[in-house]
């Protein structure tokens, strides 16, 4: 039990920092931020808690609760993708993950998902143009008021070319 837990924990913890740096790196902050996990009870980790900490670039150590809405979203996605690296599901479905993100962070998250789409498939629901510009395919959903039913239309962007 100790071994299987620590195997998961160590792998996620190692990947977390790399992924969080990929998500927070910019020309102004080439090193990106820092994110790590820590154990309350290292001997019997499954009995204690796992603490998660993320520090955006240029910010010194602070309590996660003080992070802004957008900063929390980026930290959460870092953890999500790190957990996925240990237990890769074949696809992700994400519903308006970009709601709290400013345009710079939307672009960073979008680029990350696009860059990893060879490893795992992503289906992203979004209201922002950025996501549909970078996707390989679009599923447009509208409401047919006569029947009160949803209708969908799919567009293969690879076939259309990056016009």
């Amino acid at each position: 039990r100790y071994d299987t837990f620590m195997q998961a924990y160590n792998l996620v913890s190692d990947n977390l920092n790399t992924i969080y740096k990929d998500l927070t790196r910019s020309s102004k902050h080439p090193l990106g931020g820092n994110a790590f996990l820590s154990l309350d009870n290292p001997e019997e980790p499954y009995l204690g808690g796992v603490k998660f900490n993320a520090m955006p670039p240029m910010k010194r150590f602070r309590d996660m609760e003080q992070l802004s809405g957008g900063e929390k979203t980026v930290a959460a996605l870092g953890l999500l993708f790190a957990i996925h690296s240990f237990r890769p599901a074949p696809f992700f479905v994400m519903d308006e993950i970009d709601a709290a993100l400013d345009n710079i962070n939307v672009k960073k998250v979008c680029n990350y998902i696009q860059g990893r789409s060879g490893d795992f498939q992503s289906i992203v629901i979004s209201l922002k143009d950025m996501f549909y510009e970078k996707a390989d395919a679009l599923v447009g959903i509208c409401r047919d008021h006569a029947t009160n039913s949803s209708r969908t239309l799919t567009l293969d962007l690879e076939a259309v070319g990056e016009a």
Binding site: K72, S122, I123, I125, D136, V139, S149, R151, T154
Partner: protein, 168 residues
Amino acid sequence: GRLIRIEAENFKSYAGTQIIGPFKDFTAVIGPNGAGKSNLMDAISFVLGVQSKHLRSTKLSDLVFRADGAVPSSRRAMVKVVYMVGEGEEVGGQEAGDEVHFSRVISAGGASSYRLNDKEVTWESYEKRLRSIGVLVKARNFLVFQGDVESIASKSPKELTQLFEQIS
């Protein structure tokens, strides 16, 4: 492997039988407020065995399409996910390029049943096949519902330990 398409029948706001897809490596789902985008995610979650309380509903019959808001027009609803087996992957005897059909049906009586390649199976063997392609329904580590993303960063240490136990 990859998710190729979804087939929905009278599920939430999707009346009749509709085929949604094909999905590519990176697919964006767009549309105005209230169109049915989150309902599509609910459809994918439903067919993978997620409980109706995570699908903004209290009972399974809420998930059946209702035209006028009160009475469900049909008593039955179904969602099917078509999955293509990936390179170097083997799923229940099926090889790369084969299609695996996972489907879940709500009967007129309001009960739900599971099918693998259109043959009815128990939840245990259905879940086992999902686990073999890396889909851990209990951990739900591959689904982010609307409004939930920030809460992942605010999970308590206890909740994170629990998540680690579910994935290890």
